[in-house]
């Protein structure tokens, strides 16, 4: 999966599954505050990551994610490390 494809998929997940308004989505957006994602939504993000990108998120890794850009990079790095393995 290419980088752009991953980012587009993340955007479509946020818009369709989490009903985030499109104009709020930018790399600098704070995932928790700007997108209105609360602690329960984090659990649902874990679920959609597993079903869309086929890897399991570890809670301590997820805690490091602040911005949407961090989120892209995290997913990309996990997918790349899976390829290497």
């Amino acid at each position: 999966m290419e980088k752009n494809e991953i980012i587009e998929r993340i955007h479509s997940i946020l818009i369709e599954e989490f009903e985030v308004e499109q104009d709020k989505i930018s790399p600098d957006a704070n995932l928790k505050e700007t997108l209105g994602v609360d602690s329960l939504d984090y659990i649902d993000l874990v679920v959609v990551i597993e079903s869309n990108f086929a890897f399991k998120v570890k809670p301590d890794e997820f805690a490091q994610i602040v911005t949407l850009h961090d989120f892209y990079e995290y997913v990309i790095s996990k997918i790349n490390s899976k390829k290497l393995n």
Binding site: E19, D41, D44, V46, K56
Partner: protein, 406 residues
């Protein structure tokens, strides 16, 4: 002691998705029973069931609220929106007053099974998502509706098998009568899927008269062979007379009496004594004479033993006066946890529109039902006072008496 009145009702059932549709179905004696092929494939003895459409709440509730709601919660949300609208209660009134919720629900089988299927398959509880726990608990309806409507009064679920909805109204009546609350959202919700009812089907309690689904539910009829599971939700807004008058609300009826009892016997076999005590207690609480009851909405589910026992109890208490009796379960099937509330809604619709809905499929009485005055067809009737019975597994009984406000 406060007088307790009903100021709003709402319904989502297999005979209509709102009050207008349901009133029409009741008047015409329309059945909501179908055969569900999924049940037969799943291993049910009987594929008969009531059927309701899955609501589309995408434009009504945000994602967070929607993923918390199990099937019966969706039905209860819709019936409560209708009931609050019917009562003329808006968000400002809810914000300014302490409104409670006491709602009947006794399972969330589909949500429990589906969540555990995910955990068993993925071996990771987190992958079940954040909504599952709030869908699977028995108190799912009250926790969800209290959150959605921002209710700040009494808040808990009543689980009393097939009398849950009726006891919710009985308890709400007491909370208001004693001055603890001024307004409470009462009701009952029932899921209607194949995952929830398999263990009930196992008891051979369901009708297997699949040849004509609309004829299968035949309470009090000599040839009845079992009940038909059904579901949906019904909401009844209770309010103190003082609160209702203060805000100029339309009063649909007054809750005059609540009777209850426990059989103290077998877990599933009914008795005559238990329901009889519940009826006498309701009459005593209401202060009306048995001769003043114009209509009885019977619990009668179409099981051979249950209907006979209720017929005997009704005959013992009302045999002198023979009020009109019908079981609306002949049209709806057995709405279980919801039934005690929906049957108050059905009876109020009859009271408002001056008719008694028919006990459809009542063609030949048996020895016990022959002693009752059962409405075979729709009957024009001015109803001033009605009584509604609900009985459940474990021998829990509830009887409510409602009067047109005079």
């Amino acid at each position: 002691m406060n007088r307790v009145v009903i100021t709003g009702i709402g319904i989502y059932s297999c005979i209509g998705k709102n009050l207008d549709e349901v009133r029409e179905s009741l008047f015409k004696g329309k059945s909501g029973i179908i055969i569900d092929p999924v049940r037969k494939e799943y291993g049910y003895r009987s594929g008969l069931t009531g059927f309701v459409d899955k609501p589309n709440l995408k434009n009504a509730l945000d994602r967070r609220a929607r993923i918390m709601l199990p099937e019966q919660g969706e039905y209860a949300y819709l019936s409560t929106v209708e009931a609050l609208g019917n009562a003329g209660i808006d968000a400002d009134f809810i914000n300014d007053n302490e409104i409670g919720i006491l709602y009947g629900n006794d399972s969330s089988g589909k949500a429990v099974i589906e969540a555990n299927d995910v955990i068993r398959q993925k071996k990771d509880t987190m992958l079940v998502g954040s909504g599952a726990v709030f869908q699977t608990m028995n108190s799912t309806v009250t926790m969800n509706l209290a959150t959605i409507f921002k209710l700040r009064g009494i808040n808990f679920t009543i689980s009393a098998a097939c009398a849950s909805g009726s006891h919710s109204i009985g308890l709400g009546y007491h909370f208001i009568k004693t001055g603890l609350q001024d307004c409470i959202v009462c009701g009952g919700a029932q899921e209607i899927n194949h995952l929830a009812m398999g263990a009930f089907d196992a008891l051979s309690a369901f009708s297997i008269n699949e040849f004509d689904p609309t004829k299968a539910s035949r309470p009090f009829d000599r040839d009845r062979d079992g009940l038909i599971p059904s579901g949906g939700a019904a909401t009844v807004i209770l309010e103190s007379l003082e609160s209702a008058k203060k805000r100029g609300a339309t009063i649909l009826g007054e809750v005059l009496g609540y009777g209850f009892s426990s059989n103290g016997g077998h877990i599933s076999n009914p008795t005559v004594d238990g329901p009889t005590r519940s009826l006498y207690r309701a009459l005593k609480d209401s202060g009306v004479m048995s001769s003043e009851i114009d209509y009885i909405n019977a619990h009668a589910t179409s099981t051979p033993i249950g209907d006979s026992s209720e017929a005997k109890a009704i005959h013992e208490v009302f045999g002198m006066h023979k009020p009109l009796v019908s079981s609306t379960k002949s049209m709806t099937g057995h709405e279980c946890w919801m039934a005690g509330a929906s049957e108050i809604v059905y009876s109020l619709l009859m009271m408002q529109n001056s008719f008694v809905a028919p006990n459809i499929n009542f063609e030949n009485p048996d020895e016990d039902s022959a002693k009752l005055n059962i409405a075979k067809k729709t009957i024009a009737k001015n109803i001033n006072v009605f009584l509604s019975n609900s009985f459940g597994f474990g021998g829990t009984n509830s009887s409510l008496i409602i009067r047109k406000l005079v």
